[in-house]
Structures are given as C-alpha cells and as structure tokens.
C-alpha cells in the first residue's frame, strides 16, 4: 500500500474553519481519500468522467481541505469504480466513490451550524422519524386545540379556517429562515476552508477574481444540467453494474425542478396574499395551484425513481450507513407531495383539517431537517462546483512536461 500524504507537511493558512481543525492529522476517511488520490494521480485514466480527476491533477498531495473539497465534488456516478484497474479485489483497493461518500457526510456534519446539531446526520433515520412524528403531532394537536376537532363540516377548502394565515406564515417563516441560516453558515465555513484563493498569491487572487463571473455561470450550468451525472460521454452514470444509464440524471432533474416549482408556488401564493390581497383557496387553474401541481408531480416521480435506483444501487460503491439519510430525505419529499395532492383532492371534504395537519406536519419535518440531512448535498456540491470552476481558470503551478 502506498503511504498516505506526508502528514507532517505544514498546511499553511487558517488553522480552524468553523468547528473544523484543518491542521489536525487526517482522519481515517480523509487518509483514505489521500491514499486513493495518490494512486489515481499516478494513473489518471478517469480524467474524462467528471470534475474530481481534473481537480486532482492540479495537486501532488492532498491535505484535509483538499479531501473535503473533492469529497463534495464527487457525484457518486460510479464510472470510475467500474473502469478502475485498481478496484477491489486488486490489492490497492481503490474505490473512489465510496471513499468520497464516507467523507462527504462527515463534512456536512463537521461544518454544520450549530455544531452540536451536526450529530443529527449520524442518526439521520431517527432525525427524519422524529421530525416527521413531531411535525404531525404538532399540527394535529394545534388543529384540535384551535378548532376542537379534526373532522368538520366542509369548509370549501378554506385552510385559514383551521390555521390562521399569519400563524402559518410566521411559524414556517421562522423555521425556513432558520434552515436557510444554518445551511448558509455551514456552507460559508466549508467555503472558507476550501476557498480557491486561500494561501494564494496576488496573481492567483487576480485570476480568481476574473474567473468569478464565468465560473458562476458554468457552475450554474453544471447544476442545472447535472453535467456530472452524464458520465463524461453523455450516456449517464452507473447504477447496479458497469452499464451506463441516464435515469438517475432524469429522476434527479425531475426532483430538483419539482422542488423549485413547489417553492415557486409558495412564493407566488405569498405574493398573491400580501401584494394582491388574493387569499387561498386558489382555483385549480391559478398560478400557485398549477405550479404546485406540476412541482408535486415532479416530487412524486423524481423521488420515487431515485428511491428505486437507490435501492438497487451496487452496494460496493455506496456508504451503506448513509442509506437512512438518503432514503429518509427521499421519503420526506415523496410524503410532502403525496399529502399535498391528497389535500388538494380532499380540501372540500370533512377531512380537510386532518389532511391539512398531516401535510403541514410533513412539510415542517422537511423544513426542520433541511440543514441536517441529505438536502445539504445540494448546497455543498454547489460550493464545490463553484470552486472547481474558479480554480480551473487559475494558473496551474504544476508543469509535468512531456509526460
């Protein structure tokens, strides 16, 4: 086995970012990435698959921050594992996607804010279960407390007869703002640790500044198109074997855009309420309902597909300990959309309050777990892709010459 990167080598720059001590010895997960990357850097056959390998070739050794960055740049598409001449049973036992997956969840945890809440990732299944049962209980109790019962005479879809609008807006607003704040602090900590201009000289800083606009554009493109779920050749990534498939990209796109449409539906409804003084319930053909319906369909098809792929994915490249986190988040998205549709269908019946409580409880669980579950991948991946797109526009200090 090759030795890991020289750990005695000084790592310049800020010693500590958030709760993460960047000069501490590499953890076992970080060491594994450093070890694997040293082998990959001497091989480089996988350069065409994704961003991880081009990022790797700019380095000769891999410090803590590098491993955090690369772990979040990896999309776990699997191409490099099936193509690897050093994958198990080879004694080098190179398994890039698994090494990256194991550290990736640690980074969400270590950069989390508040720091103590990072532990929630370790028990992601339990976290989701508690959030969900807590959310459901909360709204059922509130409904009963405010109205005395869950079953009632039809109210023509008037949710606010059950929960006043301002009450819901402030409750969800507070939770949502907290989620945004927690994620923002986490990703800022991460960015400070891996920033492309950390320890950079004046020329590098100038190049990075110049790169910012095109890098933001390209990173946005990489996310919007999910470039790196294409396998480098556009035929897609791997699931249960060495064959390529585009289904993961498709299901993820449907999920991503479904989520954004639901977000848009809520935003439009908020504008209707406060700016236009138009109050719910909105008609089936109104903008909030159409956006929400399309988004909801996306959030049924997408998560269902992702769950199916997740269940049959080759365990060799997964970190099985993350199944609860991955599947818990997917299930929450599914529940939010399914209960949302149920509510839409039942909003004129006697069980509206019950379904409203169920739907709101589920949405609350999703909001509460946004900063402490799988959702974080989108935020950290975005930061890593942005760094990649800046860094690749900066001068490369290595000159490997003829070979």
């Amino acid at each position: 086995m090759p030795p890991v990167t020289d750990m005695a080598a000084p790592i310049a720059g800020g010693a500590c970012e958030g709760g993460v001590n960047l000069v501490a010895a590499l953890s076992a997960d970080e060491q594994e990435i450093a070890r694997v990357m040293q082998i990959c850097n001497a091989c480089r056959y996988c350069e065409g698959f994704c961003a991880v390998f081009p990022a790797m070739t700019r380095r000769l050794e891999f410090n803590k921050a590098d491993t955090h960055y690369l772990a979040n740049l990896c999309h776990n598409c699997g191409s490099c594992l099936y193509a690897c001449q050093y994958a198990p049973p080879h004694e080098f036992a190179v398994n890039v996607p698994q090494a990256m997956a194991r550290l990736r969840v640690r980074t969400y945890q270590d950069y989390a804010w508040p720091r103590a809440f990072g532990r929630l990732y370790e028990r992601a299944g339990l976290t989701v279960a508690f959030a969900l049962s807590g959310g459901l209980a909360l709204f059922m109790i509130l409904a009963i407390a405010m109205n005395g019962r869950l079953i009632h005479e039809p109210l023509a879809g008037n949710f606010y007869a059950i929960f006043p609008h301002n009450f819901l807006a402030s409750l969800f607003g507070v939770v949502f703002l907290f989620a945004v704040l927690a994620l923002a602090i986490g990703v800022v900590r991460f960015w400070r640790a891996v920033s492309p201009t950390k320890d950079a000289n004046a020329a590098d800083i100038a190049a990075a500044a110049k790169a910012r606009v095109p890098a933001v554009a390209e990173a946005t493109h990489d996310i919007a198109r999910l470039t790196y779920l294409g396998g480098g050749h556009g035929e897609g990534c791997n699931e249960d074997d060495d064959a390529f498939t585009l289904w993961r990209r498709r299901f993820h796109q449907v999920t991503l855009y479904g989520f954004l449409l639901c977000f848009a539906a809520t935003s439009v409804a908020t504008l209707y309420h406060y700016l236009l003084d138009l109050h719910a319930p909105y008609a089936f053909l109104s903008a909030p309902v159409i956006l929400g319906t399309l988004g909801g369909i996306g959030l049924i098809i997408g998560p269902a597909g992702l769950l199916w792929l997740n269940l049959k994915r080759d365990a060799q490249r997964a970190d099985v300990k993350q199944n609860a986190m991955d599947r818990g988040f997917i299930m929450l998205l599914l529940l939010v959309s399914v209960t949302g549709f149920a509510l839409l269908l039942l909003r004129d019946t006697r069980v509206m309050a019950l379904w409203l409580a169920i739907h709101l409880g589920t949405v609350m669980a999703l909001f509460l777990t946004l900063p402490y579950g799988k959702f974080a991948h989108g935020i950290f991946r975005t930061a890593a892709l942005l760094k990649f797109n800046i860094e690749k526009r900066m001068p490369n200090r290595l000159g490997l010459g003829g070979e």
Partner: protein, 504 residues
C-alpha cells in the same frame, strides 16, 4: 461478483465420455470458440457474432479480473491523414511505419505492420459502435495527442463495453475457464480441453489468450543466468494480468505451430520496485528518470538518462535495469524536479543530504558521492527546459547525460527504486494477413490467433505507446471474421474495410 457461470448441463457434460461431446446441445458446441477474454479475443467474438456465427468465449479469469492486459491499456495508436475527433493534425501511414521500424530496429514484418497501421485508421467507428468512448489525451500525455486515441476510463472501460456488447449480441461468455490444450487434426482445430477436463468442440477457434509474461518459471528459464550467476527474471515484476501463463502458447509450439520472436523480448519498462508482483499497471511507472540520475546497486550510473524524452525512452529502461546487478537501480532527483513529472504512486525515500540518502537506500555513500560529484561537476550551464531537448548536458563524464542535466544540489533529495516491469512478451505464433495459425508454413483452415499471441510478428522488439492495441484490434477483428467464415458465416460489412487495410 459472478463466479463460474457454467450451467448444470455444461457441468454434466464435463463428466460425459468425450465420445458423446459432439452430440451435446448446440449451445455447448458453438460455431466459433474464442479462447481468451481481452481486447483481441473480444474483437474476434464480436466480429464472428456480427457475421452470424454462434460464439462461445472462454475467459480464464473470474469476472472481476477479466480482460487480461487490456484492463491496463489506455490508448490506441492510430494512423490518420487529417484531424479526427480526438486526434489532432495527421499521422500518416508512412510516419507510423517509420516509428515502428525505428523502435523494432527492423525486426518486424512490413506487410503485416502496414495492415495493422491502415486498419487503425478506420476501426474506431466500429469500436464506438460497441460502446468504446474516446477522449482527448490525458493531462501529462499531450505528446501523443497526434498519434494516440485515448479510451475514456482506460482499458477496463473498453473491456466492460465489449463484454456488454458481446453479451447483448448473444455471445456466450464463461469465466473461470482456463483451457489447457487443444485437440488438433492435421492443423485443424477439433476441440479445446479445459483445465477442468471439459472438452468443447467448435467449427473454428480463435486463440486470444495472451503471452507468457505471468509465467515466472518460463521467464526464469528464458532469461537464464547472467554472468554474476543471477537468475535475471527472478527480480522481474509483471505489470499486467496474473492469468497470462502461456499455457496454450507452449502447447501450440510443442504441437508444431510455427512460432516467432525471442522469449526474452517483451514490453519491458522500469517501474517502481515496490509495485505488486502482478497488475501494477500504469501507476507504478517512474517518470523522473530524465530529471535526475539513475544509479545501480553499486551506486554507479550506467546510461544516459537524458537521451530523449522519457515517453520515448521508458521502454528501453526495463532492459537496462535488467542488466544491472540485482536487476535494480534508483532514480535520484532533488527538489528542483518536484512537480515536473507525473506524480509517483509510492513516496520516494527522502533525505536532506545526498550521503544520508545513500545510506537510507542501502548504497555505499562513498561511491554514491563519487558518482554524484562527478556528475555534478560535469554539468555544463544551459537553459533548462524539460518540454524540449534542451542544452543542459554533461561534459567529461561517462556515461554522459545529454539533456536536462542539472546539478543535483537542492535538498530535499529523493530516491525511487526501480525494477524491470514486464507488460507482455513477444514470443508468439507466426501468422499472416488472415491471422491463421501456421504449421510448417501451411495456414490452418479453422484455427486463428490474435493479440499478444501474434504481436511478435509486428513487434520483434521495442515498443511505441498504443501499438499493442492497434495490433490486437486488427488481428482480433480479422481472426474473428475468418473464424466465422470458416464456419460458414460471412461478415456483412468487413470486406471493404479489410481490403483497404490489406492495401488492395
């Protein structure tokens, strides 16, 4: 992972008296039997299947080690007269031929070499059709951007694609099925006998099961003892698969097939001495030779480290190291070289002074310092440029270093231990443009060979990057088409491509 995929019927057939083997179900007796599971064998299987033949492919390795040495390859040397997708400029037939002539020192067969060269110019659409993806050269390999088309993900990705395509087309694949002998009759193939004793008949057969590089006993015998009494090959490492034991190569030579090549000739490079015995592959190479000096166990230099660009010289350094005492050497560099060569897979031995480095790697510090001092004193001032044949050279030291000679004086110093790494051997079966195996110069009507088993026809010695795949792909496809033809199946489209390659 899949293990042995033999069906119950097939296992039963093993125990059956061989008299009944011909009466076995058609699945057990294909039109074309392909023995081997690397690039050439897969090309044969795919072509034979495309021609309409039923095909059974026997791979000695389990599924996770399938593909022979092809899982370690990275590109295909391609002739082209104009820029083509991933290939820049042009690499005409004549230039390719001259390159081959140069590296082989003329030990080649011009008509067969030109067949391979011309075939390489038109085979890639077929490769793509079967799922191979090409990409521009890898970083650090720009010097072959003009001549070599890289496989995205390397050779294992190519092998995976071919297996997927073969199985989708209905080629039957059996892993864990090494073949120990053939049943031949007047130069005709009758049946293959597996290690497990199973007899498999077929109308025709392609042998694509590699050289003998992994057979350490055979290597030992071929290289023999040197003047110091050392068994040279005992210190070799095998860069490729552990499954190329040369069983059928030996069988065929013993059975009277015409052979070609010298058993000590091989693709042999200097690799890191700490590499695993098998399957070290590309990452065990040491790319800093031309940036420093190389000393042997006696702490003396023995060859011009700066003769030419390293990619053009690495294939001679395996033999150079094989000739040194203990078949070992050390590449010595200083801090100035760091970041200027492909990062090595193993850390170098590091020291702050040269005598300390000598002690750490177990060399006599006094002799080592004599060597280094003599070299350092001989370095003439020049303008260092490791991307060109620069003017930094030595004067008055033997051997000279003719380029990139810079004083080794900036700590820390690093040493990387070297050993010969054998990629594949060139001893093989003599063949012709039909890929037929020959007995007393008469081609067999239904037995063909491809890949490493015939590479020696084109490569008598030396190597140039990617040419092994050019040879394997050309002979693999031709062997598959001819094996299908001898079983009564004509390939629908290959004739035109072949006519061009054959120069007709």
């Amino acid at each position: 992972m899949h293990g042995n995929e033999r069906s119950v019927d097939e296992r039963a057939a093993t125990k059956t008296d061989t008299r009944f083997a011909s009466a076995a179900p058609t699945g057990a007796s294909p039109d074309v039997l392909v023995i081997g599971g690397g690039n050439a064998a897969l090309c044969s299987a795919l072509m034979a299947r495309e021609a309409g033949a039923s095909v059974l492919l026997l791979e000695a390795a389990p599924k996770e080690w399938r593909g022979g040495n092809s899982m370690h390859v990275r590109n295909l040397r391609c002739m082209h007269d104009a820029p083509q997708d991933v290939l820049v400029e042009a690499y005409p037939e004549e230039e390719f031929w001259q390159d081959l002539l140069k590296v082989t020192g003329g030990i080649t067969n011009e008509p067969l070499a030109r067949l391979v060269i011309r075939h390489s110019s038109r085979c890639r659409p077929w490769m793509r059709k079967h799922g191979v993806h090409f990409q521009p050269p890898l970083s650090g390999a720009l010097h072959v951007a003009r001549t070599n088309a890289f496989f995205m993900g390397g050779g294992k990705a190519l092998v995976n694609a071919y297996y997927r395509s073969a199985e989708a087309l209905g080629v039957k694949v059996r892993y864990n099925t090494p073949v120990k002998s053939l049943e031949l009759e007047d130069g005709r193939f009758i049946a293959a006998i597996t290690e497990a004793g199973e007899r498999i008949t077929a109308k025709s057969c392609v042998l694509g099961c590699g050289g003998f590089e992994s057979n350490l006993e055979w290597q030992r015998e071929a290289w023999g003892q040197n003047e110091r009494g050392e068994w040279t090959a005992e210190n070799f490492l095998i860069r490729g698969t552990r499954f190329n034991q040369g069983v059928l190569l030996k069988f065929m030579i013993d059975a009277g097939a015409d052979s070609i090549g010298d058993p000590t000739q091989a693709h042999c490079v200097a690799i890191d001495a700490r590499a695993p015995l098998y399957d070290g592959g590309i990452c065990t190479r040491i790319d800093c030779v031309s940036l420093g000096v190389v000393v042997n166990r006696e702490a003396r230099r023995f060859y011009d480290e700066g003769e030419d660009f390293w990619p053009k010289r690495y294939a001679i350094w395996g033999r150079l190291v094989a000739q040194q005492p203990g078949q070992t050497a050390w590449s010595i560099i200083d801090q100035k070289a760091i970041g200027r060569f492909m990062p090595p897979v193993f850390e170098g031995t590091k020291a702050n002074t040269l005598p300390e480095l000598a002690v750490k790697i177990g060399l006599d510090p006094a002799v080592f310092m004599d060597t280094l001092n003599a070299y350092n004193a001989a370095c003439r001032p020049g303008t260092f440029d490791h991307t060109a044949l620069d003017d930094c050279r030595t004067e008055g030291v033997t051997p000279a270093k003719t380029h990139w000679a810079r004083v080794i004086d900036t700590p820390p110093f690093y040493a990387y231990p070297l050993r010969p790494g054998i990629t594949f051997t060139y001893l093989g079966m003599k063949t012709d443009a039909t890929a037929a195996v020959r007995f007393q110069d008469v081609p067999s009507s239904n037995l063909f060979a491809a890949g490493e088993m015939v590479a020696g026809n084109v490569l008598g010695k030396g190597y140039t990057a990617g040419v092994g795949m050019s040879i394997g792909t050309a002979f693999g496809r031709i062997a598959g088409v001819n094996a299908a033809a001898s079983a009564g199946h004509r390939h629908p489209t290959f004739q035109e491509e072949l006519a061009y390659a054959a120069g007709h």
